[in-house]
Symmetry: C2
Amino acid sequence: MPKISHKGQEMPESPIRKLVPFAEAAIRKGKKIYQLNIGQPDIKTPEVALNAVKNHNIEVLSYSHSAGFETYREKLANYYKKSSIPVEKEDIIITTGGSEALLFAMGSITDPGDEVIIPEPFYANYNGFAIASGVTIKPIESTIDTNFALPPIAEFEKLITNKTKAILICNPGNPTGYLYTKDEIKQLADLALKHDLFIVSDEVYREFAYEGAQHHSIMSIPELSENAIMVDSVSKRYSMCGARIGCIVSKNKELMATAMKFAQARLSPPSFAQIASEAALDTPQEYFDDVIEQYTFRRNLLVEGLQKIEGVKVAKPRGAFYCIAELPVENTDDFAKWLLESFEDNNETIMVAPAAGFYSTPNTGMNQVRIAYVLKKEDLERSLEILEKALKQYNSQN
Amino acid sequence: MPKISHKGQEMPESPIRKLVPFAEAAIRKGKKIYQLNIGQPDIKTPEVALNAVKNHNIEVLSYSHSAGFETYREKLANYYKKSSIPVEKEDIIITTGGSEALLFAMGSITDPGDEVIIPEPFYANYNGFAIASGVTIKPIESTIDTNFALPPIAEFEKLITNKTKAILICNPGNPTGYLYTKDEIKQLADLALKHDLFIVSDEVYREFAYEGAQHHSIMSIPELSENAIMVDSVSKRYSMCGARIGCIVSKNKELMATAMKFAQARLSPPSFAQIASEAALDTPQEYFDDVIEQYTFRRNLLVEGLQKIEGVKVAKPRGAFYCIAELPVENTDDFAKWLLESFEDNNETIMVAPAAGFYSTPNTGMNQVRIAYVLKKEDLERSLEILEKALKQYNSQN
């Protein structure tokens, strides 16, 4: 039998999805599960986007431009300009989700053996994209005690070698919910300029900033125009994760010409989804106001609820819709599985994402979970109740 | 300024798309161009597929299963069974185009430095996927004199080293139109078993077989179940290139579990396109009968027309909708550019794909072009007329 690649063997199973078989088994037994494990919002997709697809008049569903519809890139550039991100349509390549934008970025700037520094905990699939690209991730730990703020720049400098090609951040952070301050972004920019590095900034949660906090894009620093690469996606902004539309954005012409070669090899991004995404740019402001109000409410409910549970510590998120909570258990992998397999309260349970999968350093975050506050009030309240009961039972048994 | 990766520098520009700037300039000057260069059919997408998307009742456009809709995979397995490809839904992962299926296959079976043997000329984007994956392509030349039949197995054996992981074929072939015989597939299967190699078979043109010829899938050989990987796509079958839906199919459980990790990292294939692709499986047989009749007519028209032009040699295709023609010019890169920049007949010209980009061996196929017969009768006839006039003028000037 021919052999699987080393790369394939090393590819991690998604920490978000590896509990799915246990959840499926629980569902088959009639258990109801509140899914706090995955960033799949229950928010309705804007009607303007859904209707654009309903009203399509396509006769031949042909390839689009490899960089995506020109009309879409133009409208998107206008949207960015309104968010203090001064880019033109030439600075944008539409991708199949933020995922493909990350792959194009890694392929364009790294060769096998090269290194990328990432503050951890980080979005778990960065591991998969790094392995697929042959890149080594050098993690720097950020901690729950600072709400996962940027680690000291001196810590970054310690890790920089001649193989370091980039620093990758997620702002606001998944899984941390941390929103980098203007000063932190400035510190990163100075570091990148000093060491001639790229900064890849995953800003897919840009709109989700709470308490009036402002988001500071890596693209808003003029000096960094040759170093900054932004990754974006429509998935969360318009609650259209299934569209699979994102983009890679940079003012660096050589980088974009290179990313374009990767884009041409896969021909084009999906057309129906581009129609929906282009139309989504006309979503009325009230939609976002409602959504932010909703998430703010959910965030407060969740964080306050968690703080009330004995032994639970939580980092207060100022962006995105996740938080990391430390639980009074030793191993959340085991606890999360137990929640699905062995626990029920009135035949209901919860599904959480063990946080170890969001760390690259082994045996880190073992007592943490990521919780997505993508469920409605009643479900979040019930989830908190279940978590409290479950922790008691789990700890009395173990 | 930070540096682009070596990988990024090596990524080839698509030979199909690198003439686009010249075409755009010609169009700006008001020239009409008949596009014979790209496999973008003018055939209408089945209404059943387009209507399924029009009639969607989605409220939250959420992620699908990373392997694609279960209902779609079930229907797809039934479709394959009817084509003598005995697979179940568990043997299928839905991908974003055949492109992503190829990337998943390469990632799952090769590490940087590994080798894949491919008969050339081959689909040019295999080069891009190989470079993105760090794989070295070992080409074996097939020739126009045999209509691009499978090169002798002894030639393959000469190239096999301990780094060889797979043989990649395209059946029927893009750009050759060659349809492998049952015996050729059997020879490849024996070779793969003898040397413990994977065979990756790109079968996206399966339905396009002419003169009643039968397509022989790599999946139809039971002994090869651990070695065979099929790549497929809806793009050409239903004239829906813009959907970006394909799949990777294999009975090898370890391989599929590995490909699934790549699939999970990118979350899911596009949802609207899956709706269209699932519905497309209900396309009535008359649609295909009409399409095959149309392509057969076009093929005969094109091949006979080319044979009549002095100095032109053409390999008669039995599948897909391309042919390779040898022209009485030294360098078709130059000729193709000249057609766009300097030639016009009644303000019209043609665009062809220089074939050198489909060869991996340098300076091979320099006098060949790939012609796609995706245009209607009148346009093909006019294109042939233009080609004949252009060749005369080009050769009288040079």
